[in-house]
Symmetry: C2
Subunit: 249 residues, 2 copies
């Protein structure tokens, strides 16, 4: 935990926050902090700053730590990248969500596709925003506060044909990862990218031809990493990172 | 398995290869092949080509498949990137090796550092090249044949001070990942990179200041991904991918 995150509603009017969960345990057991010490802290979707430890005591189940937060600087900008992903197994999804949040992504659209197992949509990970803790892990790691917004789309065609057109104007470019594309990001998008990018990465096994066609109809440009076929988790990290560096982030 | 890999010594003088392990099982059970069918195949550190299934039979433990290999085109080039990494937990190392091989890396130097647990060097994964199967997994996934060369270095200072100078001339640039570097790869290396790159990524917890100093003494340039602190596994995939795209691979 390189940054202690808290919800805006946790902060009282005197800028204190009462922690009595894994975060207070972390401050005491891992960081070994005492009253008066400070930790790096950040409000989810808000500023990063300093948390001064006002008091340490025993709560009912966990130790209780009271922090006073002082914001420093502006709220970080939303990352200029959004991700569409064919839904993967829950165990892989947890990892991808944490990694994507640590690299920085604005929105994540989890969608159906031919090679997505229908049962994945019933996973408890997708219920009640249970995936949220994995996104927070990634933000805590990367010292970012901007929580990716996740949405779930159980039907492929309505998503691509009806939903995409409603958000398309937001983007300077739309890309679909496809090992047979023959061109890499540098060829497709250049080295001076500006504006927002929407990137679609296939599920395990990749997109089928019909799906690539549907994306291309919506002006997505196929992009690859040489002739290499990457696993979905590797491809997400690889392509988001490549976009980041080309955008000069 | 997008590419069936075999060792050069497995090929007979008539270009046939007898498979009776997980590869033959894969051809029969997963791919559902019959005699006369072809699969994509590649010789480790050699050419990619076609494997024609000559016969399918029962071996002692596994099914037995006889392939006849026809090479197509040249041996793939060695990737222009080598990786130094602070040794990580075996479970994380397996994943990193597979992912690094799938992105493409020439040599992997696993080294000691202040935040490496000494016990990691005793892991059975490092004995008798047990890590090799994870590299092969990555190559099979990415359809590459060039096996990364792994070496293990149990002492930090001799590696950096004595060994690095012996290989330094091979590289057009040497980089060390450091979240406090303040500059990304695009700033440090530009968008028209040529020649070989040597990249050093810290163990879990990162490099300590002394280690960064030692790398800098050897002309390594610190590089970051914004202010983000990434986990070792994410950083390896992210930075190798960024190098790939800047090199136009």
């Amino acid at each position: 935990m390189n940054l202690l995150l808290f919800e805006s509603k946790e902060m009282m009017s005197d800028a204190t926050i009462v922690l009595n969960d894994r975060r207070s345990e972390h401050i005491i057991r891992v960081l070994g902090c005492n009253s008066g010490d400070t930790v790096r802290a950040g409000m989810i979707n808000g500023s990063v700053g300093t948390g001064e430890i006002v008091s340490i005591g025993r709560g009912r189940e966990n130790s209780e730590v009271v922090l006073r937060f002082t914001a420093e600087g502006d709220v970080p900008a939303q990352p200029p990248l959004d991700l569409i992903m064919g839904l993967v197994r829950p165990i892989m999804l947890k990892k991808i969500l944490a990694q994507a949040a640590s690299i920085g992504v604005g929105r994540i659209f989890l969608i159906n596709a031919n090679r997505v197992e229908k049962s994945f949509f019933g996973a408890s990970l997708l219920k009640d925003e249970n995936y949220r803790s994995y996104l927070l892990d990634g933000l805590e790691q990367a010292k970012d506060t901007i929580l990716p917004q996740v949405s779930i789309h159980e039907r492929f065609r309505p998503f691509v044909e009806d939903f995409i057109p409603t958000i398309a104007k937001t983007y300077s470019r739309k890309l679909v990862a496809h090992p047979e594309a023959g061109e890499g990001l540098k060829q497709v998008a250049g080295t001076e990218m500006t504006g927002r990018t929407l990137l679609a990465v296939g599920p395990e096994g990749g997109w089928v031809d019909f799906e690539i066609e549907k994306f291309v109809e919506q002006s997505f440009v196929p992009v690859s990493m040489g002739a290499r076929v990457l696993r979905t988790d590797t491809a997400v990290v690889a392509l988001l990172s490549q976009l980041m560096v080309l955008m000069g982030e």
